[in-house]
Symmetry: C2
């Protein structure tokens, strides 16, 4: 089955707003095996709406529209669709009662204007909206289906899942989208593409998308099939190939972020962490503490911009700062060691670099970052040169630091949520910008 | 003039990608006085493309399409538009030469496939693309204009500005969009709406949009006019009304973020700042250091989750933590005082609260946050209850802390980039969740 999505609302034609409802709808429709072949954004204007609905209905079986169901004169989706289908608008007493009841529950009287929302095209089915006043509408017309949903995502999404999805599920064929997502860090988009293209090109029926995001690359695999066992075997085969091509650069196979992956590793290994940050300015700490329950593993962090505070807060010797400069392997190492001791954590992370736009030199250009990770077994330090602006450099630096923590657990026989995958990689080849840590004793809380 | 925007690309019909080019294009077109009446997303499919271009051309004078100009067989925008307009595709030797030159500059040979990109519909004008291989195309046809631009924003945007904009500027009438943006914090969307609606409703010709963003509300005013003096006077009048209705809750009149506004205030007043954060986990420090040149005012910060580190790193007395609990006005105050002394900064900020999802109680539910700001003149402390999930609570808490710094400067006769506005407000009424700080001596570096 093919579908089109129409987002209704003049505000969606300004530079301030994007229709994002269609991403949710596309995901849900694809899962059902319904393909979205066009998305349109139309203003609250009778003629434009008429044209959009007419064209979509001529092309596809299913039209889903969001927005334009409000109580004011601007909102005219109901009227326009009734006109297009040649149906009268009639007042639905049950909807009117529901809207009045909703206002009563807030101790308010229903404004007369809201009575408009109880008008439905003859033969349409009203879809209950407990989260707002605008009911949705479901209309079947000569083999075509039209769903009119409210614009606010918190009203639209549950209405789709509760009312529209079951109706569609009964109608669609057995074809569904089976989807895999891999996330990769430490390699650029084109390098990922170069390594995996020879693999995925052997599978023309699988839709492969490589997307660059700050500090990572996301690879989506999608296959439309009614034979889920077969489809899953194909996807497993491709992912196996990607595993070899990308080695330990894949950090996520289920959509989880690197923050979440590292938090999970810290929790599973009963490990604690602290950080002393310079150029990332708290971004590393902020990311690790963005996860619920982070107090179990994150003890504390310092942001020390000035040399004085690097000494006062992370015990970096003033003489070292003098001799090597604040952006150096030695200072990163001292930051990691110092904060680990000060916080009493099992792992200490030190980050120092030049985020720009100022402060660069020929020897140490903007984007130069030293990252160190300290444990009782020793320190591992990396020098990386990141491209991009201040924000990109900071994001990539925090990402690389998180990845060093991940790699630390990966090559130390520690607990991992992807136990079997880790086992496969231990002792295997190591590629990409990450590199392996030396192998001290596994991190365990005594 | 009316325009439609077509985003071309099957990847834009998946759940992973949104067309965002249209926001940039809408903004630029609106500035010229061109109204965007429809946006469509179409896959790389001949029939779908033909239908989309045909329909748009029948409705409006100007059609702008992005994407589908690549070298591979998937990309068929060129061919489809040529077919629709009944024009032959001819090879343009100048384009071919430019593409070959581009490859030579990378020390590579042009793959034969790229020669396709030199095919243009007869009579079309090629638009130079120094940032990629795909040239754009400009086609005029019986009073209609079609611009075909590449999909990648970094290629599309400069091409539009350099080549398409000048062509349009010659044609459009004198009507332009004049735009103002105000940003407000410490008030919810509906409260902002309630306060300003009586004002903006008196101006039916002005399009007013109120948008909620995390921790702030953005108000956009737009007026279409060919009399800029008059339009600006009307907008000034409305903004004056908003000033009275929203008092000191407006923090930005030029699109700058609260981070930027506070950074600017710190710089102008030659002030330095430090922070001791618990629930925000480094977010406050991260935001203030996201601005270029932040080392001039941000000395350092600590993230102290555990009670032990609150004592060790910010001198919060263990007895106080014991007596009042970590989430208390007293501990927020001690954090602010302690970090100010430890960092040697003029301002110290302390943040402690419950970001959730766990850790709440009847007395101190999730969302309870104490924020303190310490200066030589004393401490100001606030208790706030924020709604939403962990991420929202942390964003709002960092936003409220930044706002307390802003308000500190606002009511202390300090230097401000909006000098005249500040003067108007000093001593005036103070509304909203912010409240005024007591008035110690102005903050100045001695």
């Amino acid at each position: 089955m093919k579908a089109e999505i129409i987002a209704v609302g003049s505000e969606l034609l300004t530079p301030d707003r994007l229709d994002t409802n269609s991403l949710f709808l596309t995901e849900e429709l694809n899962k059902l095996g319904v393909e979205v072949v066009r998305k349109s954004v139309v203003g609250d204007n009778r003629e434009d709406l008429l044209a959009a609905f007419r064209e979509s209905r001529n092309r596809v079986e299913l039209v889903i529209a969001c927005g334009g169901l409000g109580p004011t004169e601007d909102d005219m989706t109901r009227e326009t669709v009734a006109e297009l289908l040649g149906r009268k608008l009639v007042r639905d007493p049950a909807i009117l009662q529901a809207i009045e009841g909703r206002f009563r529950s807030f101790k308010r009287e229903m404004p007369e204007i809201n009575a408009r929302q109880a008008m439905v095209p003859e033969g349409a089915e009203a879809l209950d909206n407990p989260r707002g006043t605008a009911p949705g509408l479901w209309i079947e017309d000569r083999g075509h289906m039209v769903a009119l949903l409210p614009g606010p995502p918190r009203e639209m999404k549950p209405m789709f899942l509760e009312h529209v999805l079951p109706k569609l599920a009964r109608r669609v064929s057995g074809v569904r989208v089976i989807h895999r997502e891999l996330r990769v860090t430490g390699l650029g988009e084109s390098h990922v593409e170069q390594r995996i293209a020879p693999i995925y090109k052997r599978y023309p029926d699988v839709n492969t998308t490589v997307l660059a995001a700050p500090g990572e690359v996301q690879v989506h695999l999608r296959i439309w099939s009614d034979d889920f066992g077969h489809a899953n075997r194909i996807l497993d085969e491709i992912v196996q190939g990607f595993d070899i091509a990308l080695t330990d650069r894949i950090f996520s196979r289920d959509g989880s972020t690197l923050d979440e992956v590292v938090a999970q590793l810290l929790l599973l290994n009963n490990a604690t962490i602290s950080a002393a940050e310079s150029c990332t300015g708290g971004l590393f700490a902020q990311r690790l503490t963005s996860i619920a329950g982070s107090s179990a593993y994150f003890l504390g962090g310092v942001v020390c911009y000035s040399n004085e505070l690097k000494t006062a807060w992370a015990d970096v010797p003033a003489s070292l700062l003098q001799a090597k400069g604040a952006v150096s392997a030695e200072v990163a190492t001292a930051l990691a060691d110092g904060i680990r001791h000060r916080a009493g954590s099992l792992i200490g992370v030190g980050i120092t670099g030049i985020a720009g736009p100022g402060g660069g030199s020929d020897e140490k250009p903007v984007g130069t970052v030293h990252i160190a990770i300290s444990t009782a077994a020793g320190v591992k330090e990396r020098l990386v040169h990141f491209p991009g602006d201040r924000e990109m450099i900071r994001i990539q630096a925090s990402q690389a630091a998180l990845d060093m923590v991940r790699i630390h657990f990966l090559y130390n026989g520690a607990q991992s949520p992807h136990g079997s995958h880790v086992a496969k990689h231990v002792g295997g080849q190591v590629g990409g910008a990450g590199g392996a840590l030396p192998s001290p004793a596994p991190l365990k809380r005594s």
